[in-house]
Subunit: 350 residues, 2 copies
């Protein structure tokens, strides 16, 4: 293995100083064209591979990359359609700024902390549900800008969230308008600890995930205005996988056949619910109305197609990346959702 050719070798061969050679690569305008060419020729001849990335990073302090962390669901992030849309938006904005995207990968929370500490990035984007998390503390210790997505983190350089309360309120109102009167809520996990199935009032009150808290409040607000107490609503906590929510829904509808309105906190969950309800012969939307949350593509292909509260996850990711890259003071952006009407809540007019 030959010794690596470095800038000084090139400079010597070209008969210039190291500084000038550096400029030829990094700031070509500062070097006279003929000298620049001489330097490039020397580089080619010696087999110089261009400035060493890590050395430049150390010197300039810039990593040229944004770190993306999914503390709640590390492996899972690459399966959730919504996370992928987020990543697409992040990737788009990073590409625009000529910055790479570093996905912090780990098998468990402890490893994630190491992974965060080993990542050469200029800022972190954190997608998580809960603000109380060792991984977040590890990031904050690094003292780099942190943009939080979908939850509030104290001291974040920026925050992008949804108006989850309004979205959930509108979702419940829509099912009320469609005539539903006996409700079940299929909730996302309320805390980091796995817990599936019926939610006790205790558990309902203990939701540490901002998204869950806000959406529950929104659903309840609309229902209570229609005279339906939260205690009369069946709450089921689901894993965010259609297979799992299908199982939960089968049990739900066996125990509570009177349910005629299902409020699902994600489309993935809603899709499982529709599958399960159809399998046991429930007619939708006549017999049972379902509304999801997110607006993923797969919702177009359920039977019936899924009515949902649509959010623009791509834009959410893009905005977060933009905040991270702009270096502006920390602000909070709250995005709106819109009702995406399909067949699972009312007969299509088509």
């Amino acid at each position: 293995m030959a010794k690596r050719v470095k800038l000084l070798d090139v400079a010597k061969a070209a008969g210039v100083s190291q500084g000038t050679a550096s400029n030829a690569f990094g700031k070509p305008d500062l070097v006279r064209p003929e000298v620049r060419e001489r330097i490039f020729d020397a580089a080619r001849e010696l087999g110089y591979r261009g400035p060493h990335v890590m050395a430049r990073m150390l010197r300039t302090g810039k990593a040229g990359a944004l770190g993306v962390v999914f503390p709640d669901n590390l492996e899972y992030a690459f399966s959730d359609p919504v996370a992928i849309e987020l990543l697409r938006g992040i990737g788009r904005e990073c590409a625009h700024h000529g910055v790479n995207v570093m996905i912090i990968s780990a098998e468990n929370p402890e490893q994630a902390i190491t992974a965060v500490n080993n990542a050469a990035v200029d800022a972190f984007l954190v997608h998580c549900y809960s603000d109380n998390n060792d991984i977040i503390k590890a990031i904050q210790r690094r003292n780099q800008p942190l943009i939080s997505i979908d939850t509030d983190i104290a001291g974040a350089a920026g925050t992008v969230v949804l108006d989850d309360f309004a979205a959930a309120k509108n979702a419940a109102q829509h099912l009320l308008d469609c005539g539903a009167s006996k409700f079940a809520i299929l909730s996302l996990q309320a805390t980091e600890h796995d817990h599936f199935g019926p939610m006790s009032p205790n558990r309902l009150g203990a939701a540490s995930h901002r998204v869950v808290r806000e959406r529950l409040a929104g659903y309840h607000t609309a229902l209570e205005a229609a005279g339906i107490a939260a205690s009369d609503v069946v709450h089921i906590e689901c894993d965010n996988q259609s297979g799992h929510s299908a199982k939960m829904t089968t049990e739900l509808l066996a125990d509570h056949p009177e349910i005629d309105g299902i409020l699902a906190m994600s489309d993935v969950i809603a899709i499982g619910a529709i599958d399960a309800a159809r399998a046991i012969g429930r007619k939708m939307p006549g017999d049972l109305k379902v509304i999801g949350f997110d607006g993923i593509q797969a919702g177009e292909r359920t039977d019936p197609p899924l009515t949902t509260m649509h959010q623009d996850s791509v834009e959410k990711g893009r905005l977060a990346a933009e905040m991270a890259l702009s270096g502006e003071p920390g602000k909070t952006i709250m995005l709106e959702t819109s009702l995406l009407l399909r067949g699972s809540s009312q007969e299509s007019s088509a």
Copy 2:
């Protein structure tokens, strides 16, 4: 802005040498516990943030990250279900090794070269269709291990591909067995230059993408064995998006109503084909048989569900990452596919 606390400051405060302080963080076993604690205390007191990542990288030459490059479809990679599965496998293996995943992001090929040069990574994983590419040259100039996925790159440290020939041959054979006799092939792009619609014999012969070349050869081999010449098969080049392939299929079936077998090079393309065929009233599988390629989840929800050649893209990505991280000599892995039988090729027995 206070000056950054560095290791030497901590060492002085703890009354040890810089080397010992370094060991306390990086190789704790080499430092006596009581000394170690003294160092950690000093670090805490001074607000030391832990060893500087970039400095360590420069010194050790290890980046602790794997670069992933999609030269053909930079933004598109986060939309294609198959690319996402690949990424999931890569992420899984990287997490296992405590290595982060760096996605090289760029808006155009030129930017991609810069992005490659700015990426602090230990090796590159390249997913591409064609081996002749400026981005690949840029990577090779960096002289780091390069694992190529889905195509052969000369000098790669490793290669992971599918047995595309056998897969396509089996796909065509299956439709023959189901009774199809008039075929159309919906092909992926054959070269990097956009070209959609009917393929001339010229274009067929010029396919620079390995995947397209192999699959065409496989389809043709099976069809020719059944007495069907390649020149009697309609070839259409599609963008890998269901909306686009749907349009192409509508035209195809208008021009060639006799077609009763569609061989699609991806499930995404096949899904569009099924949608289009159903929209104009073609009965599947009775009237028209369709087989896809990949085995993505969305294929379960078409009407009828999509028969396809299933590949394990997650494993493909995982294997590629494993090769990159093992540092073993370059070898080639060829993965098999399997027929995934659903309703688009024959009546289900259910």
